[in-house]
């Protein structure tokens, strides 16, 4: 399979996970909760493991400078590994945040856009959730979010 094929496959694989997080009932069926929290991220982590072991040693690649990171991502395979990393971790974090937001009783109408933001821009959504929690705690309304 080409890098392009795997890219399409991995990107499509997370969509059911995000749809479940945004729309499906939670805490009702254990197997359903585990699809975004465990099953899909585990599959993508396995794919990443193979990709990174085979392609990390790209010429000039490393984590020490922008130039080294660019070298890692210079090939389609290296870029694919990086993308799968995003897909896997964003979904995992999304599932974790969903559980937390359930715990404080945040309505799904507010959870869904936050999850969409994590899907698209990972840390941006996490920032909003944590900043909101921090602000509410400072006001003594910590149980609201």
């Amino acid at each position: 399979m080409s890098a392009e094929d795997l890219f399409g496959l991995a990107s499509a694989a997370v969509l059911p996970g995000w749809l479940i997080l945004m729309l499906a009932p939670r805490g009702k069926w254990r197997w359903l909760d585990r699809i975004p929290a465990l099953v899909i991220p585990f599959g993508l982590s396995a794919l990443y493991t193979g990709l990174i072991l085979a392609h990390f040693s790209a010429a000039g690649g490393g984590f020490g400078s922008i130039a080294q990171v660019r070298a890692l991502f210079a090939s389609d395979w290296g870029l694919l590994a990086g993308w799968v990393h995003y897909l896997a971790f964003d979904l995992m974090i999304g599932a974790l945040m969903a559980t937390q937001m359930d715990r404080v009783g945040l309505a799904r109408i507010s959870q869904a856009p936050l999850l969409a933001l994590i899907f698209l821009f990972g840390p941006l959504g996490v920032f909003l959730i944590w900043a909101a929690q921090g602000a509410l705690r400072m006001m003594g309304k910590g149980d609201a979010a």
Binding site: G105, A107, I109, L117, L124, L128, L136, K141, A145
Partner: protein
């Protein structure tokens, strides 16, 4: 804490988080839209939502258990939440691309989104009036009867005045009446034109009737003429808002600087 007030507090928190995001954005941003840095508009809207939702949270937390559990109130907070997320995400996403949100009729996508923003804005002010109506009728609310009266009058008045001023705003091609010359003076902090007519000051006053009138009620509550003060204050506030509105429609700035 009841769930309706809790959701309003949560929305207050998220609007605060968006203000923080705007300030961090500012550190990296140099692009301008209509002579204003692009992060300013989402920041101003986030601030406005903080004030709106904190006011609603404060009031709904004091309603009686029966009023709090009314289905109408639960629907109101849900619809307002949807409107908030839609407005903020669209405004921020457009700003991040250096594009306009209101008055952006560039193609069918932006026309639809501008229309939906109008729908969202109407939901927000009608929702506010609904909460005001519930408070007005909730004799068991943990608000003194004068304060409750002020909340009801202020929230409903805010809705009516906003529908008038923002209705006029949306029927025009922009918030100016006239064309300010490049680099023309603006009112500090607010950014309203100090050279030509600008409908935003009247819109601002209209929105904040929901804080001004309850605040007046809080000050005068318990006095023998409290209701009279509240009604008189509401009438004066309406007159001032309308004066600014007509002044702007005539193409005159609020103050010429």
């Amino acid at each position: 804490m009841n769930t309706v007030a809790k959701q309003y507090w949560a929305l207050t928190g998220f609007a605060m988080a968006m203000m923080a995001a705007g300030l961090i954005w500012a550190a990296f941003e140099a692009r301008q839209f209509q002579e204003t840095l692009v992060w300013i508009k989402p920041f101003k809207f986030a601030l406005s939502f903080v004030v709106l939702f904190a006011t609603l949270a404060w009031v709904t937390a004091r309603l009686s258990a029966a009023a709090q559990s009314a289905r109408a109130l639960k629907w109101t907070v849900a619809i307002m939440a949807a409107a908030f997320w839609f407005e903020m995400i669209y405004i921020a996403a457009q700003a991040a691309q250096g594009l306009g949100s209101h008055y952006n009729l560039g193609d069918w996508y932006h026309q639809i989104m501008y229309g939906l923003m109008g729908l969202g804005a109407v939901s927000l002010v009608v929702g506010t009036a609904l909460v005001g109506w519930v408070a007005l009728r909730d004799t068991d609310a943990r608000l003194g009867s004068d304060l409750r009266f002020g909340v009801g009058v202020g929230f409903i008045l805010s809705c009516v005045l906003t529908l008038i001023t923002a209705g006029a705003l949306s029927s025009m091609a922009g918030h100016f009446v006239g064309t300010p010359p490049a680099g023309a003076a603006v009112i500090p902090l607010f950014g309203w034109s100090a050279a030509v007519g600008d409908l935003r000051p009247a819109h601002f006053l209209a929105l904040h009737a929901m804080q001004a009138i309850p605040l007046l009620a809080w000050i005068v509550q318990g006095r023998s003429m409290a209701r009279g003060w509240i009604i008189g204050g509401a009438a004066a506030y309406t007159a001032l808002t309308m004066a600014l509105f007509v002044q702007a429609l005539m193409g005159l700035p609020m103050v010429r600087l």
